[in-house]
């Protein structure tokens, strides 16, 4: 083949190639052109979202606790940035905003081609500086964005919660979240996030040389709904201060005891309290110490501060997730079970008068030889001394462990007829062992121990010997009929053993007893209104069940609770209560912990007992005696609630 022929063949091939692109061009521009042009017209419009302000939060008296204000924020829009301009822009912005350039670069990368992202909120001075230099900062915008303001500071911080950027698990749950907009992470900021976050607006525009040349009617951002709490911020402050003072009192007492040479363990800095309306189940106050300032999270908290707060467990809302044995506060529940179920006394024990339903409360209970290996002598560790013969009323007033132990034992002995779980069933129906359903996240259910539960645990423990044991290895002995002993039921009857509960559960159980048996889910939020104040949702604590409690038992119990503060274990703490003491009832509790920690101090108060409006549950973690430490704190709060001038928190009687 001649060269000229080969050249011609190549020429033809080239002509074909040019024809292919010519035809393709005709196809795209003429055949498909009109359709593409129509679609393309839309593509020249850019849109950006404008953040909506989150709704405000008010307390029940209309005090503004949380609001939003507009602050300048720096945004970067990659649409206007050439790749070669990127390094300089990152470097300049990070130095102007004192940010880590690597972090900024990562955020830039994550935004994607033509992405737009918020770099940081800034103060007015920096906003002004950057605005001055916008002409040399391609793609940079300074816009006003809403920012959260926590007017109450750390007050009610566990109820209100805080904000944070959505993490992976949030995005998994709610994939359309804007990753640059902070969401609620705790408290009602989290629980009601979708109700109060508002709806972002959309701005559509066209830009040339960094100037907007064309704009379309924008969708205005819709501000989030506002929340009105059931909680009362004044009461909340009283409660929080009382807890702080209770902690201080506890540490003072510990110092005194140390000076006296008594064995005392570490000081405490932890406490919690709940004030509940037993008729409506509105949460009037809910406090947990230590707390935090939610304002720290606005604009992002630095990792050191976060670690420090995390270390001190400040994010734990002890009122709903702290688990403690209810201890003697539980005697009111055992009391109700005894009265309602007519629980039997044990037979043939010295100091038990079954006929008159009385116990000789002398601090020591001698038990018969028990087949299951329970100890034979039980000493009342906290109430030594002879209190004489007590019936159930006197036993509650004096918090006599022997009395309730005996009834536990009697129940165990007669479990065939009364049922082995009769007391546990009462506990469960009054809210122990499951979440109360309050509108806050991370509520703990607690544990109501039973034979069945112990047997499950034992089986699990035998199968998984590497996991931390829940039961003493001695209980796993195959010679034993069951890992659950009669002594466990006796301990349960006084709120000890493996029994755990939250302060909110304790308040809920007393509320059910006080209102005559109506079980409701407590609510911290009263209603949700839109930005114009129109009602969006009225939140009523739902009734989830009823418990049959006879009116006699209810009124007797309330009367006996009043005896606790007038002549019982809290008498000293309530001596300065002032007028109306006859309307106040309560119960002390001293929860045993471990061998190296002090007891938790409990007190639950009810007032007024003729028509209960308030239930106050207070715990000072490792605070010592309930009568000495927790009762004065609760008394202080009850004085406020009953419109008495609250008197200083001083030590009460070191009683159970």
């Amino acid at each position: 083949m001649k060269f000229a022929v080969r050249l011609s063949i190549l020429g033809v091939a080239f002509v074909v190639m040019f024809s292919v692109i010519g035809l393709r061009l005709w196809f795209v521009q003429v055949a498909q052109g009109p359709d593409i042009a129509q679609a393309a017209e839309e593509q020249t419009w850019l849109s950006k979202s404008t953040q909506a302000p989150r709704g405000d939060i008010y307390d029940r008296n209309g005090n503004l606790l949380v609001t939003s204000r507009l602050v300048p924020a720096v945004y970067v829009d990659r649409t206007f940035i050439q790749p070669e301009q990127r390094p300089e822009l990152i470097q300049r912005l990070s130095s102007m905003l004192t940010l880590d350039p690597h972090q900024l670069d990562a955020a830039y990368e994550e935004a994607g081609t033509n992405g737009r992202f918020q770099v940081a909120t800034v103060n007015n001075e920096i906003a002004y500086q950057i605005t001055e230099q916008l002409h040399s900062l391609p793609g940079v915008e300074v816009v006003k964005v809403p920012e959260r303001v926590y007017l109450a500071g750390p007050t009610m911080s566990h109820v209100i919660g805080h904000l944070g950027l959505p993490d992976e698990s949030d995005l998994e749950e709610r994939p359309d979240l804007d990753t640059s907009v902070r969401i609620g992470k705790l408290g009602i900021e989290a629980y009601y996030d979708e109700m109060i976050q508002g709806t972002s607006g959309v701005q559509e525009f066209r830009v040339r040389r960094g100037n907007i040349i064309d704009q379309r009617p924008a969708a205005e951002p819709i501000p989030g709904n506002s929340i009105i709490l059931n909680a009362d911020s004044d009461l909340q402050q009283v409660v929080e201060l009382a807890l702080e003072e209770g902690i201080a009192l506890s540490n003072e007492v510990k110092d005194e005891l140390r000076a006296e040479g008594e064995e005392v363990f570490a000081d405490t800095d932890r406490a919690a309290a709940v004030v509940l309306d037993p008729q409506t189940f509105e949460v009037l106050a809910l406090a947990s110490v230590p707390d935090f300032d939610p304002q720290q999270f606005v604009g992002g908290i630095d990792s050191d501060s976060f670690e420090a707060l995390n270390e001190s467990l400040a994010f734990n809302n002890r009122a709903v997730s702290g688990l403690y044995p209810p201890a003697s506060t539980f005697k009111a529940i055992t009391y109700t079970a005894i009265q309602e179920e007519n629980l039997p006394f044990p037979s043939d024990i010295e100091g038990v008068d079954a006929a008159n339903r009385q116990i000789h409360c002398d601090g020591q209970l001698e038990l018969p030889e028990l087949a299951d290996g329970s100890p034979q002598v039980r000493n009342d560790w906290y109430a030594p001394g002879n209190k004489g013969w007590l019936d159930i009323h006197g036993a509650l007033e004096q918090s006599c462990n022997l009395f309730f132990w005996s009834l536990g034992l009697g129940t165990w002995e007669n479990r065939e007829t009364v049922g082995e779980n009769v007391i546990q069933d009462w506990a469960k129906s009054l809210g122990y062992g499951s979440e109360t359903g309050i509108d806050l996240a991370s509520e703990a259910p607690g544990i109501v121990p039973t034979r069945q539960l112990f047997e499950e645990w034992a089986a699990y423990q035998i199968e998984n010997p590497d996991e931390p044991p829940r039961l003493d290895p001695g209980r796993l002995d195959p010679a034993l009929a069951s890992p659950w002993f009669g002594g466990d039921l006796m301990d349960f009857a006084i709120g000890q053993g493996n029994f755990t509960s939250t302060p909110l559960q304790v308040a809920v159980s007393y509320s059910i007893l006080a209102n005559g048996g109506t079980v409701m889910e407590p609510r911290i939020v009263d209603r949700i209104v839109d930005s114009n104040g129109e009602l969006v949702e009225d939140i009523t604590p739902p009734v989830v069940g009823t418990v049959d409690i006879s009116e006699t038992t209810r009124t007797e119990l309330l009367t006996d609770l009043n005896r606790v503060v007038t002549s019982g274990t809290a008498q000293a703490a309530f001596s300065e209560f002032g007028p109306g003491l006859e309307l106040v009832g309560g119960k002390t509790g001293t929860a045993q912990t471990t061998a190296t920690r002090d007891n938790h101090a409990w007190f639950v108060g009810v007032a007024p007992i003729d028509d209960p409006q308030f239930v106050v549950a207070v715990i000072i973690e490792e605070g010592g005696s309930g009568g000495a430490i927790a009762a004065p704190v609760a008394r202080h709060i009850l004085q406020y609630l009953m419109s008495n001038e609250p008197t200083p928190i001083t030590e009460g009687e070191r009683a159970d």
Partner: protein, 387 residues
């Protein structure tokens, strides 16, 4: 008297034959000017002085064109080994400089970044022509030609070594240019159908091996995949292709007008619209008419290169001109094909239009050498036709 007349006639022939290929040069100049306009339209919104930079490259390119035109292309035979060696050193050198956008293609010189692969194309064309052209003989343009297997092997080696280095940069597009040039020049040099089939089989085998052993990086694979599924990398090249097609399609028959405010070009919506996607700016602003004008300009250049090839005084010059033609055709075809979505996004620029210094200068050098082939096509009186 007759002696004087004959002398005058000879001088007239010499004069005529001394004229450059003005049509070739004029088309190149027109495309370059048009390119500056398009670069300006594509970058006016960001003000990066891209057009001003390209003007410097155009000026340098014109100087290179005129120098190359005035050098007898036959001189290159002797310097081909040295030039090949220098280009190989430069192709290795790029790996010792920090990568830009994660690829090692450039040697930073301060005022601009030298891209040796662009000049390697021209060197390879001249080297292939040197290798494949027959020894000088009187009947070289007419006699039957047979390409020996040995020469074919040498030619493949000549292309494979720099081709491999460039593939490692990585620059898949330029490697493909090398393959295309090799293919067309072997064909012109007289490869038999069997030889062509063998080469094709080797290429197919090589491509299969590349896929089999994952020699392509993920991003190169995606650039091929995205041709069939533009939802891959919706933020990256998929986006680029969709935007480019939208821009070109919406240009329709006559375009949105030069500097039209409503264009994707003005809005900077097509990434790399002043370099690899410059044709998008043309077709959007000036429509099918403008796009076809550019294609016609390339047809004119290729036509002139074919005329130069057929009029060359020797097979060596003819191979050079044809090799340059195939290089330009391949660039134009793959580049425009990419903007309209029928070719993969390989980063091959459009000759004389795309912003880029090394590329513009190497294209000017190529056309300058072709012009030299044209200027030397007829032996002037007194010149030994054999040399």
């Amino acid at each position: 008297m007759t002696a004087v007349l004959s002398r005058l006639r000879e001088v007239a022939v010499v004069r005529r034959n001394n004229r450059s290929d003005w049509l070739l040069f004029g088309t190149m100049l027109a495309l370059s000017g048009f390119g500056l306009l398009m670069i300006y339209s594509a970058t006016q919104a960001v003000g990066t002085f891209s057009m001003e930079r390209q003007m410097i490259f155009v000026a340098a390119g014109l100087i290179i064109f005129s120098i190359a035109s005035n050098i007898d292309y036959r001189e290159y035979r002797s310097i081909v080994p040295a030039a090949s060696l220098i280009i190989l050193v430069l192709l290795v050198a790029v790996f010792f400089f920090p990568p830009i956008n994660e690829v090692n293609r450039w040697i930073p010189l301060g005022f601009f970044n030298l891209q040796p692969a662009e000049f390697a194309k021209v060197v390879v064309i001249v080297a292939l022509a040197t290798l494949l052209a027959p020894p000088l003989s009187r009947d070289e343009m007419t006699g039957p030609r047979v390409l020996s297997w040995a020469k074919m092997g040498q030619a493949c080696l000549l292309v494979t070594v720099p081709g491999f280095l460039i593939l490692r940069e990585p620059d898949l597009g330029t490697t493909m240019v090398f393959g295309f040039i090799l293919f067309t020049m072997l064909f012109l040099a007289g490869a038999t159908w069997r030889q062509m089939a063998t080469l094709s089989a080797a290429v197919v085998g090589g491509v299969a091996a590349v896929f089999q052993f994952d020699l392509l990086s993920e991003y190169q694979m995606n650039r091929i995949r995205v041709l069939f599924d533009q939802t891959i990398e919706p933020e990256g090249i998929g986006y680029q292709l969709v935007q480019s097609k939208s821009a070109i399609g919406s240009g329709q028959l006559v375009g949105k007008g030069l500097f039209a405010e409503d264009s994707f070009t003005a809005f900077q919506y097509v990434p790399e619209q002043e370099t690899d996607f410059i044709f998008t700016a043309v077709a959007e602003q000036l429509g099918l008419v403008g796009g076809l004008m550019v294609i016609v300009a390339f047809v004119v250049i290729v036509w002139r290169l074919f005329v130069i090839a057929s009029n060359s005084r020797d097979r060596y010059g003819a191979l050079i001109a044809a090799g340059i033609a195939s290089m330009i055709v391949f660039h134009a075809f793959v580049n425009i094909g990419m903007t309209v979505g029928i070719m993969p996004v390989t980063g091959l620029p459009l000759p004389f239009l795309s912003l880029g210094g090394s590329f513009y200068m190497s294209m000017s050098l190529a056309l300058g050498i072709a012009n030299s082939v044209w200027l030397m096509r007829t032996p002037v009186p007194g010149e030994n036709q054999l040399t």
